[in-house]
Symmetry: C2
Subunit: 318 residues, 2 copies
């Protein structure tokens, strides 16, 4: 895609970890006429970014990085968004669009609007990542064939939203739009609560006085093993996700707890039919997922074939 088709002439990336770095590389590869500037609060990261060419230019100050930008993308942890956005006040062109990559949208959108009143804001969430992080981890194809969910707020100009959507398509993503609160609910159920559930059972198993950790580990091939893999995700990122997406997570959790209690009750009272019905229903959903191409019956779920592997939770590393 040439610079003429690209929606922005100059893109600034704040935060040069896995996601930010990958965006920089992707833009340089897919939209070679677009100027990419990058900045990170960590001087060592800036040095690596310069060496790897994550951006055309990595200045020492954030002000230099954003001064001429048409689009600024905040690629920092969710709980750092507000503070980082605040440093941009007074440094942006009036029509510069501010976007982000956070895995919760309501809290992030509100935070950015709070510290940059009047600035065009288009929140987004590329659902992609790997288990690695930092400026060495990024690569240009991370977003190819991955979803990017763009979540315009009430104040978002539709044309600005379109530009951001075109941008993400330009680096290979498939774009969907939804309201920020709907996004947070969808991610709560497909990612956040499954992670919490996995974290919990691993902790419960670990706390059993009568079953040794060695036994749990020994016989873990199977259900439990899969949970431990999910539970190995970054503690800081996940703490931030649950604190930021509290409302949606609590809603899903409450429903889940009610459903689990119902099954627990069926077990206690030996209600085999209720159990069978529930299990048969959920088996169907698995089939739908394979049909929709979101999974694979092969042992590696097709992961071995993909570059840009998705984080176990499918979200971008925050």
């Amino acid at each position: 895609m040439s610079g003429e088709n690209a929606p922005f002439g100059h893109v600034a990336i704040i935060g040069l970890g896995l996601i930010g770095g990958s965006i920089g590389l992707a833009v340089r590869e897919c939209m070679p006429d677009v100027t990419v500037s990058g900045w990170d609060s960590d001087a060592d990261v800036r040095a690596v970014a310069t060496r790897r060419g994550l951006a055309h230019v990595v200045p020492d100050t954030v002000a230099e990085a954003v001064a001429d930008a048409d689009l600024v993308i905040l690629c920092v942890p969710v709980r750092a968004m507000e503070e980082v956005a605040a440093t941009l006040a007074g440094k942006l062109k009036p029509d510069c669009i501010v976007s982000d990559v956070g895995s919760c949208k309501v809290s992030v959108a509100e935070a950015i609007a709070r510290v940059l009143p009047g600035q065009p804001i288009v929140p987004a969430h590329p659902v992609a990542g790997t288990e690695h992080s930092g400026p060495e981890a990024g690569f240009a194809s991370l977003f190819k064939n991955r979803w990017c969910i763009v979540t315009p707020c009430a104040a978002t100009d539709p044309d600005d939203a379109e530009k951001v959507m075109a941008f993400w398509r330009g680096i290979g993503a498939t774009v969907e739009t939804m309201a920020p609160d709907h996004h947070d609910l969808v991610l709560a159920v497909t990612s956040h609560v499954p992670h919490l559930i996995a974290y919990t059972i691993v902790g419960t198993a670990s706390d059993l006085e009568e079953v040794t950790r060695s036994e749990v580990i020994k016989y873990s091939a199977g259900g439990f093993r899969d949970f431990t893999r999910i539970a190995a995700s970054d503690p800081t990122m996940w703490r931030d996700v649950f604190l930021s997406n509290k409302h949606a997570v609590l809603e899903i959790l409450q429903r889940y707890s009610e459903d689990l209690t119902a099954l627990q009750r069926a077990i206690r009272w030996g209600d085999g039919d209720a159990l069978f019905e529930h299990f048969a229903k959920t088996r169907e959903i698995r089939r739908s997922i394979i049909e929709e191409g979101q999974d694979d019956a092969r042992p590696d779920f097709g992961r071995g074939d993909h570059t840009g592997a998705v984080l176990p939770d499918g979200t971008a590393g925050d």
Copy 2:
């Protein structure tokens, strides 16, 4: 292993599905001097078993199959064990050992003892299987390098237990022993409750009025996808597991619910430290599992290399 080293001269297998068939093939391969008879209530299954050579002889009646047996292994669904064992009354040699392969041990051991009072009983559970079933599915190497947990009851003669342990080693398994109730607790936490949890979240997601199934499926790459894979297991088998292992499952479930509520509370009250602490602790367990060789950082968890793949829950098909 020759017939002289094998602990039994004649082994009878009742139930010629995946597990029973695999045992027959394994014994014929590893202990060629041992006579293997097999029986199944389904005449079509008996025909397939005869064609595939799952046993040396597959008579039309169970009485013929067990008359001279030194070891009878019940390879039928957990809830069918009592009825099937009852048909053996009066047909076994007095010192013939009765064993099984069920994934719950307390209920099965009690059921067998109830209908075959005085017969030597050595309950066992080979933790192996694939997603397939029936007489076409078995193969000789299913148990190679898999755990077999032998669970002697109070009445079990230690020498009889040793013979059954030697038998399982003879067909390639690594044998552990534990008390039946301890087995049921270990399996409840490593397999049964993880399955129930997975079944539940998939159902909860499916019931959401505001999030379409299509959305759930679309964004399922990640945590949710792994849960659906677990939740695709056979509904009949799992209904029986939960009905039979009720006590241990309820114990683990209750603890799990308490732990989940504690995390829910931490989220509601924004207790980031509590969340971080919990997540960091559980990350360690994942590392232990990889170190113990029970899992693999590779995308396919090493599954691609193994014959005799383990069922997602690691148990034998009931």
